[in-house]
Amino acid sequence: MRWRELLSEAWRSARSALVATVMVAIVVSAMCATTGLTVGRAIAAQSQIEARLEEAGSRSLTVTDARGGGFLTSSIIDQINAFSIVERAVGVTAAFDSVNTAIGLGGTGVPTWFVVGDMADAITLTWGRWPEPGEALASAEAVQALGLEVPVGSVVQATHHPGPGIPIVGSFTAREPLTHLNAGVVGRAPQGTVAHRVDVLADSSSNAVLLTSATVHLLNRADPQDLSIDAPTSLAQIETEVLGDLADFNQGLVVLVLVAGAVLVSVVTFADTLVRRSELGRRRALGAQRWAVVSLLVIRSAIGGLVGVALGTVIASAVNVMAGVHPDPAFTVATGVMALAVTVVASCIPATVAAHQDPVQVLRTP
């Protein structure tokens, strides 16, 4: 039998066996809708949690030189930066207040830091040029507080007034996790300056614990009181565990829904072949080969399955959109493809059984 004739035969047959086709469509659409509404949502929630975890906050580690031991040198910062699990590490000195040199002590004070390490790891240049050692950039907020029209001028440390000024050569915005720098002036540290604290960003939240112990090990302080470490590692750990549980649960649910769908499609197709025994017997008696009968039944189910996939996907997407959830389109497509595959496989078994029935017995029983 020619494939095109087989397809149009299956199409006519799917329309004449409307009850079976509709039942398969309902089962498959239920399969798609349940998966989309439960697992699709859970996965959307999961990727939200993951995104939140990967925000800088949950993978950043702050090491502070608690007693002024002076061990957070630029070479130590370079060594931390060399860890493969480190995205970037940057040190800053303790903040001091500075004022606009032109106004003097009467002016508003702004917090000022020097960056030890690569400035580009801490801030983004938005105006002007990168400072030389001893020069600085002012944030938009600081420019206003200092009474500057453009971020060019000079500041002086309030306690050292009227000592040597620090030239301002441009403006910046701070990068995560150093957003507190946005309040003031950031200078490039002169050679040999040691940092007061180092902010380290791990490449992923799951590496935060490892990073903490590696850093402590590197600093190798005899007295633990020298260091103060601030790391949200326990949070990251708990969230990772929760995510693992969630993923297991989702997989279980998908398998359950698919298996239940497969069983139902099988039963519906089997019942349909029983009801239409005489039709199948006639086809065989008139010369239809077994593979043609099997293909006919499977394609017929697949037509119902296609309608079901379309229906279920539309229902699930509509409900999700109304609820403000946006599951991954790739997941939606995968669900549809899987549901269709399940329909085909599940209808193969009863179709093969039906194709092996004896046409004579069928023809004899009216």
């Binding site: 039998m1 004739e5 006519r12 006639r282 008696a285 239809a288």
Partner: protein, 217 residues
Amino acid sequence: MSKGAAPLAVRDLCFAYRKGAEELFGGLSVDFTPGTVTALTGPSGCGKSTLLYILGLMLTPTAGEVLVEGARVDNLPDAERSWIRGSRLGFIFQDAALDPTRSIVDSVIEPALYAGAWRRDMLAPARALLEELGVGERVDHKPGQISGGQAQRVAIARALLTSPPVILADEPTGNLDASNTTVVLDALHHAARRGHLVVIATHDPAVLERSDAVVEL
């Protein structure tokens, strides 16, 4: 295939529906002659229908062989037997066994599709054949909308469409009145005159009277 071999023959045929069940035919051997109508007759339950199903390659003999043009076919795999059934045999059932969901003309085309033909190539010959059998104005009706005699003529058209060498008919006139019986027999005899080999299982005296050969079972 030996030249001149009968298009259809049985040799030393025996058949039982299951082990230990009553054995039918007792070593029957028949050569069916092309261009003739052969009647299979005998009392009810003697195995007329069974023999037709064996000739139609839907049942496999317990002993003996079925030969098509001299070649043994009863032991072929199912796919090949189905192929022969679709392309070389036309089958007419006692009740017409038409598909209630397809139109008359599509019913006639059905076995041709299984034999690998295109529907669009078969439409015109199917209409012509239905015209010839006197149901030409019914081509677009459904089987539920025509009489039993007309349905049987449609079934004959279905068996004749691909012009198979062998036509097997199981009590084709069993449910018909005298005038319809005549129409159906005329059609089958007309096919035989054109060279088809026609085998009819029957206990209808009208059929027996007109057939060229009779096999008593």
